[in-house]
Every structure is written in C-alpha cells, then in structure tokens.
Symmetry: C2
Subunit: 226 residues, 2 copies
C-alpha cells in the first residue's frame, strides 16, 4: 500500500524478547557461541538455534564456523547502529532491565581455548607475530613465513614436525573481539610456554596465570605491536 522500505520485517525480528536478548548480548562486540547466547537469552539451545537462523536470514548477525563451535557477531556497523538507536529510544523512555554479575576478569586476561592460548594474551601473541612478519594473512587463513619458522626454532619448536593440515588457524576470541592463534602451532606454543614455566593453569578452570618471570619473557618474545 505504501512505498519505502519494509521496516516491519526487521523490527519484528528484533521485537521478540529472546532475539532482543541475543542482540543485546552481541552489542558488547564479542563473538559468542550459540550456547552462550541461549544462556544469555534464557532459552534452550534448540530455540536459540531457530532464532539465530532467523537473525542470519534477516542480515542482523553473522556467523563464523569454528570447529564444533559457531561464533556469532552483529553483522556490521549498520546493524550495531540500529540496535543502538533502539537502545537510545528505549532508555529515554525508561524501559530498563535487570542486570547480572560481571564476568570473571581472569578469564579475559588469559585462558585455555581447547588447547591454545586465548584472551588478551592470546590476541597479543597473534598480533605480535603478524606485526613482526612471522605470520602472513592469506585468504585461507594465516600462514607461517620463513622468519616465523626461524622464530619458532628459537622458541624450541620444530614446525616441520607438526602434522595436522592447517598449521595455523585464526580463532575468534571469546572475550576480546579479535582473533588469536589456533592450530598445531598455537597448541605447540602454549605447550612450550607451560614447559618453560611461563604459564600455569588455575585449578582445573580454563583460566591461565602467568608467572612473574614468564610474563616478562612473554612480553619480550611477543611485544605488543604499536
């Protein structure tokens, strides 16, 4: 009956409480898994899967397959601005919700992601390797350079002995929003750092702790770029 864009489709997508919770959680900029999002929204994994599919079709979010996980983020700046406009309007009308406790800061600093280093330290390692030319970003993922291979030898790692298909993989970080290094090389680096006593595990949680000397050695080996 009217011209102009159809705003009902997108608005109805955001209008469901479960989906709105999912989008609000993604407004932190973090990449979250389907399970984490279902917890945030207070629904089961099946229901979340259905909602995530709809949000994908509506172009509001984007997904990245990552092993047996699937990481979801907002689709881009356009979507973020839209949610932000909605939040601004709702906040001006005094429509607020309850809040929950904050996340564990130790997990954000350094943690185990499967078998490699994640968190702020993981991002620092990854970006340092790229900035110093040890890692190159190819279309199909990061790849070790000659300088990178030599560097690994100085760390006591022989990349030639590693098997599995892609030696390096970029892994979306859970707390940061950027990538860190996964794959056999990432695994070998963490194992080596544990052998050298740089890093220890906190209990049986996923949190990792640097020893004082380990932290200094880590910052020397992987200086943060810039």
């Amino acid at each position: 009956m009217k011209d102009g864009p159809d705003i009902a489709l997108t608005a109805a997508l955001i209008g469901d409480p479960a989906r709105a919770n999912i989008l609000s959680a993604l407004m932190s900029g973090k990449a979250l898994t389907a399970r984490e999002l279902s917890d945030e929204a207070g629904i089961t994994a099946q229901t979340a899967s259905s909602h995530l599919r709809k949000l994908l079709e509506g172009g509001l979010i984007a997904a990245t397959a990552q092993g047996r996980h699937r990481y979801f983020t907002l689709s881009g700046a356009e979507a973020a601005r839209l949610i932000e406009a909605l939040m601004g309007f709702a906040a001006a009308r005094g429509q607020l919700r309850h809040r929950t406790g904050p996340r564990d800061p130790a997990l954000r600093a350094a943690r185990l992601c499967y078998n490699h280093l994640a968190g702020e330290a993981g991002v620092q390692l990854y970006e340092s390797l790229i900035a110093r030319g040890h890692l190159m970003l190819a279309p199909d993922g990061p790849a070790l350079t000659g300088a990178g291979t030599a560097f690994l030898h100085t760390m006591g790692i022989a990349p030639e002995g590693l098997r599995r298909k892609p030696l390096c993989r970029a892994c979306l970080d859970w707390s940061e929003r950027r990538s860190h290094l996964a794959g056999p090389v990432g695994q070998a680096l963490l194992t080596r750092m544990q052998e050298m006593g740089w890093i220890t595990r906190i209990g049986d949680s996923r949190a990792l702790r640097f020893t004082p000397t380990g932290r200094a050695a880590f910052d020397h080996a992987f200086p943060p770029p810039g």
Copy 2:
C-alpha cells in the same frame, strides 16, 4: 538476564506490518487522522484505533484532538530517527514494498477543511495574520487582536457578529505540517473570499482553485511572512 534498555518492547511495536505502515505514513511529517492512517495501513478503523493506542503508549506517536478528528504525528525527533535507522537498514537489505499513486498536488495547494481554507494557502493566511499582529497566540489558542478586528472589517467581515465560542482555532494541516486558521473567523474568511470571486471549488472535491485576480488579491491581503 541482561542489563541495558529493553529494546524488544519498542521493536515489537514497530514490528507489526499495520503499525509499520502507520509509522511510515507519518514519516512524511504530516499530521494524519485515524481514518487516513487506517486506509494507509489497509485495515479497518477499529483495528487502527487499537494500534494507535499501543503506539501512543509506546511513545512513538503523539495525538492532538481536533474536534471530531484526532491528528497523529510522530512523537518527535527521537522516534523519527529510529524509524529512519530502520528504513536505512531495510533499504540496504533491499527490502522494499510496492508503491501507490502520488497524492493530488491540487489538494496540497488549497482545499476545503470542513468549512475553512487549508493547504499551502491556508498556512500562508494563518502565518501572515500572526506575522502582522492580527492574530496572537494565547495558551488556549489563537486570539484576534484589535488590529485583527480592524483588518477583518476592511475585508467586509464583522467579527462581532460571529457567535460560536472560540472565534479562532488553529487546525493542524493535513498536507503541510503546520497550522492554519479554523473556527468561525476562518470560516467567514473563506466564505468572503468565495463571495469576492477569489476562490472557486473544483467540482465537488475538496480541492479549491484561485482565480488569477483572486490569487493576486490574496497574496496582497495575506503576504507570506519573511
């Protein structure tokens, strides 16, 4: 489960197709009646009434009672910006709708509103009267000044003979977004201008047409301010 504003309420409000149509129609900035909005949305008046109540409660639109009409507008810049963000997102995703024929431009230029002059000419008359001090804006509506009374006499109108309670009323314009003059004085002015041959009616529609000499006389009597 989460902190932050509750965006689902507002988004669900916009998410219904009928309500989205109403909001899209109001994005023109015009003030529209409930019936006009129900036509735009393709629903009956009863259904539109229900939707309009919800939009009012949600703070997206505002209403102004006007005799037996109720004029609706977007509630303000905040709401307009929100709809605009939605339209931008939907347009980028290529979600468009069909379009209908354009409105009659003659209706926008000058038309009958009950018994007084509306459209661009109506707004010109109203604002000219105010700019020249013939009309004063009081809290309870516009009021005739002494100069205004004298001016009406030169037009051949005796406001002392007019009865009904508020001699002047501001009437939200349908095509323009501003007010024009209603009430007995507005009615008398239009009647007089028709008597003097300034204005004729086009068929039995609501559209009015100025005669060439009438247009000149009108612009002389009610020069647009500024």
